[in-house]
Symmetry: C4
Subunit: 124 residues, 4 copies
């Protein structure tokens, strides 16, 4: 497998919609950092959350196993980080092996859902 | 024609919506890897699919002819790869000539459709 | 003004929705290549369109004046290029000065519109 | 904290929807430039707005404090810049320290909202 990716990533438009429409769990409003670790080593991936009017939260870390996909719900990061809904934030993601990160928001505040996605900004 | 593009690409937020609304084939929920081969040579393009809890599937390959567009439905990759719906996955795309890849999802689970797109992550 | 941008760009997921809902011109389904020329020189910008089953169309060219924005509707390129609706295509955009290109689709086939955007793929 | 980001960014598809549906302030149509300043220094961030048929507006500047997120509503930039609604524009963003910029549009002209996002184009 190739060593594809980078060790630093940024999501700049973080905002978790505060409401959802309907009860289907797959249609609950949320934001995700979708990660590929295509390397032969497990990745130790840390998340630091930045706010407009408060000190950063984190870093907290998760493990993404070798050759695995992991879609991290940004409202469900490990304690003690807790991203509030309806609040502007940014995310710095750091890994000890190369990974790729894509940012997606599903907004189902209204009856029909809205989607947005972008490859996150790759640093070093 | 210029040799524009890269030989490795990653889509990190793969998730095929499990349902659609209506019977218009152009409004069926799907994900696509949209590819341009602007070079003078045919491209041998391989897809490897990564999951959260299982070994990767693939690689499987397709040919994208010289100076042609090809929008690959990710739910219809060549056998034996079969990406299940409603399942988190990532995609590694490799080509023997430079190509460009853009990732798009059409989600028509609800009455009105939602769209998202991003240029995939370019590797080497 | 800075010389920001590149001289080659690719949009890989071209597909113009074949229908629209309502009569508001600003809600007609369309795709655009949105261009910034921040340089001190006018830009000669050419478009080449690639298809799945046919030879490329173009190049055709437009001028984007110095220090101006230009949002090019991809269904209204200069003759003889004519991109058909409901057809997969890709676009190669070339300029003699650095520009920046962003790709956006508005899909109003259903009563509520859907939007998607991405910075195009920058080449040389 | 890492010096992640760039000092120049471009948003090429600026267009602020002229109407909204409903009275919830969080569902008003708008465009934002979402910024992370992860550095140890405050960032002086300037915005220059480009139009199709008029001279650029700006630059005007804001401060994004060290280690803070700032989601700038592009319809509410400092005077004398005033971006009109329903008008094509592009944005050049310049900073004296590295930042990351993500562009997002919420369009609620119709009953259900539409969303689009992309990491902006990074220059030097």
């Amino acid at each position: 497998m190739p060593q594809i990716g980078r060790r630093q990533w940024v999501i700049a438009d973080g905002w978790i919609p505060p409401r959802s429409t309907g009860s289907d769990p797959a249609l609950i409003s949320h934001e995700a950092a979708c990660i590929l670790n295509a390397t032969e080593a497990d990745a130790n991936v840390t998340f630091t959350i930045f706010f407009t009017d408060a000190e950063p939260q984190g870093p907290v870390s998760i493990t993404v196993p070798s050759r695995r996909a992991w879609h991290q719900n940004l409202g469900e990061l490990p304690a003690p980080v807790k991203v509030p809904v309806a609040t502007d934030y940014c995310v710095l993601i750091e890994s000890d092996v190369p990974i790729v990160v894509q940012h997606t928001r599903l907004d189902s505040r209204q009856a029909e859902n809205a989607l947005m996605t972008t490859i996150a900004y790759p640093g070093e």
